[in-house]
Symmetry: none
Subunit: 458 residues, 2 copies
């Protein structure tokens, strides 16, 4: 095995340049939910890929969605690796909870703060740092490389399926490193092999031409009451189970290997209690049951609801309209279209035909088998980089378009990256540390090196 | 009975001067919800009262609220009449729906447009026109007179109770004419004798330190679900009844006279269906039942609720907090403090101790008995002025500080004024017609004359 210390040294020596590139990317908003910044963001990402020789292209997606950026280059040997990432970010709101501007990177307490510093612009830049190091130190890459940067991951990759169906073969590789990975709260390297699916919906109801004076409340229908009664029909407060008939029908039981992996995952209950400020979890569960609930069970969650007057003071209004957003996290083999139809049928049966539903996004769940040689390569290299045995999770609780790459394009997928729970991704004060950035960049480099040497051989 | 045609003639002859005074008052904004215009408005009102010999005083209210203006003068005999009015107005918003500037009176189509032209500056000026007529034609008033002009009626009269407790005796009279009255949609004179009370509350719940990624939904408590489950415990969707134990306990049954009056009220179902865009009312009620529900029943209404992300697109967040505002309209003898305590106890019993409640405002309901001689005097005089039998409503569905004057100061209260549904009070393009102004001014004059002659004798 070739020595790779020269590559690590290059990554470390050029850390300030990497941080400057990350700052440039963060400064350019790219909030897919708010359609913000997509005039400039794709070009900036393309330039970054081109700067390390990735021959990048801005790839239009169907339905005038936010484009992807795709680059590729040849390296030594016959093995081709795909890095999947995304340049879109979550909305920065609530803005008042940020201690510095979300789109103006700010360094303090040994961290760099800003929306996307970790998820996922930090991972993009870390991998580019590894690629640049190989180019500048060795004059080329140790394997063929493809680099896919999506622009709609945070809104459910709504146009990715269409893109994969038309141009998927171009993005196909022998194996894939997913958008992020890194360390868990115990600072152990952490690899996940699957993601949940998701169905996101909008709900709305309108009962009056316009808001009425609330003195009419005894006789006029209320959109607010109506919406909350409909929502209430979806979940049983006593056991937190979803009440949509057939909701649980298509769940595939976990394999023995998945259950074994679940048992060996660290118990993060104490950290979660601290991070989220809770004394106990839903249903009072703990230990392996807590992890099973989080990773192997679906959920019905409210993202937000709104109706009427919510400003300062009082306004005695009877709101004409009410709306809500929900997401349902799905586990194999649940399908978002199916759950949407079951929800519609459930509401109709309960008499809530007046509640309008909008299907806003759907993503299928997917898992790479724990026994895959790709899992082994990524785990071994993680142990070398972090000096600790990695923790391997059969799936994360989150969602991403793993199904499109893993199932439709047929690649094994594992993770590596700059992440750490303290980075607060999706939340106010998202941040990254230089330490995690360097771990992620070096692991990307070692994966490329080792994959170039042996591909998917055992 | 003395002839009063000389007074009517003076009112008609000086109509232009009355309209000029009304324009001056409307031109000066006095929006209590927005704290707008209270540097100059009280002085302008005082000057108007002084100009007809009312010896007015700007009366500070507790908590640095917007002051009231109070004037009084002696007239013939021993009977004292109180006119209650208010000079504050509703916000003009939405401004884009006005066809002329809300604070620049504009005459077109036989109407004068502007915020407050009817509610309540139109009523102030109409009564002043009657007082001026007596002074200038007869050299004095036919009864003793007190004139109270509140500055916070449109924001729930929040400091009136404190003022009444300290200086109420000064404002006390033998009978009271309320802020407005006039004609209904059928052009019949319309008198109401009561107002509902109201309890307004804020509800909030916080379950996490901060918003979480929604992938944690299977294990983390949800403020959104929690709030809507708590709200849902307050009302039975099947019959729209409030589920707070004891909520209906203190309702005083309607008297036979009130029920008889209810039966004779016009059926406005068709207009309401059109205005609000509904096909039917809550519980499918109509006719007398519809009016009974609107006027004699309390309500539990949601003014607004809010949680999580409600912007464009989706955000897969699990909100840390959720909040709502409610108002409960109360009928005699419900009390806002009592309902608030019963709600708290109900939520605690249901296990919702984590839901925080805030008492934001409370107004007691009040009704003057239909059998009161004051009702008879106001109704008889209305018939003389309008040439039609008046419609008498035992109560309105709305709320106002009638309890403070009617119960705490012990006065019978009825209404008279310049109002008509076409005046669009509280809405864009509020207006008044000269015809309604003259009706209101003449009715005020005839009430003063008749009350001076016979007081509350039958």
């Amino acid at each position: 095995m070739a020595d790779i210390r020269d590559i690590y040294e290059h990554i470390e020596a050029h850390l300030d340049e990497s941080m400057a590139l990350l700052a440039d990317l963060v400064r350019q908003p790219s909030v897919s939910a708010q359609d913000m910044g997509f005039d400039k963001a794709p070009g900036l990402v393309k330039d970054a890929l081109d700067s390390v020789g990735l021959n990048a292209e801005i790839v239009p997606v169907p339905n005038d969605g936010h484009p992807s950026v795709f680059g590729s280059t040849s390296g030594e040997g016959e093995h081709t690796l795909l890095f999947y990432t995304h340049y879109d970010v979550q909305p920065a709101e609530p803005l008042e909870l940020w201690d510095s501007e979300p789109f103006e990177p700010s360094r303090r307490d040994g961290r760099i703060y800003g929306r996307g510093t970790s998820d996922d612009k930090g991972n993009i830049v870390a991998r580019l740092a590894a690629i640049r190091a190989f180019n500048e130190v060795r004059g080329g890459l140790p394997c063929n490389l493809k680099f896919f940067v999506e622009g709609e991951e945070e809104i459910g990759s709504r146009n990715l399926r269409g893109l994969i169906e038309t141009r998927g073969e171009e993005f196909k590789a022998d194996a894939c490193i997913w958008e992020g990975g890194g360390r868990n709260a115990s600072d152990d390297p952490f690899i996940y092999l699957g993601l949940k699916g998701v169905l996101t919906i909008g709900m709305s109801v309108k009962k009056l031409h316009g808001d009425a004076h609330s003195s009419y409340a005894p006789i006029l229908p209320s959109a607010s009451w109506r919406l909350l009664q409909a929502l209430n029909s979806i979940k049983d407060p006593s056991d937190d189970r979803c009440l949509i008939p057939g909701f649980y029908d298509d769940i595939r039981p976990a394999t023995d290997a998945e259950n074994t992996a679940l048992a060996t995952l660290p118990d993060e209950a104490i950290e979660w209690k601290e991070v989220f400020g809770v004394e106990s979890f839903v249903g009072g569960v703990g230990g392996e049951d807590l992890r099973r609930k989080l990773l192997f069970e679906p959920s019905a969650n409210i993202n937000g609801f709104e109706s009427g007057y919510n400003g300062p003071g009082m306004k005695t209004v009877l709101p004409a309209e009410a709306k809500a957003k929900m997401d349902f996290r799905l586990v194999p083999d649940m399908r978002p279209e199916d759950i949407f139809q079951k929800l519609r049928a459930h509401l109709d049966r309960q008499g809530f035909e007046d509640i309008e539903l909008e299907y806003t996004a759907g993503v299928n769940p997917a898992r790479t088998p724990i026994e895959s040689p790709w899992t082994r390569l990524v785990a071994e290299t993680a142990e070398e980089i972090y000096g600790r045995k990695p923790v391997i999770a059969p799936t994360m609780a989150g969602t991403g378009p793993m199904y499109e790459f893993g199932v439709l394009l047929g690649m094994p997928i594992a993770t590596s990256g700059v992440d750490h729970p303290s980075h607060k991704i999706h939340a106010p004060n998202e941040n990254i540390t230089e330490e995690d950035f360097l771990y992620g960049a070096k692991h990307a480099a070692l994966i490329m090196q080792r994959f170039g040497e042996r591909g998917l051989d055992e």
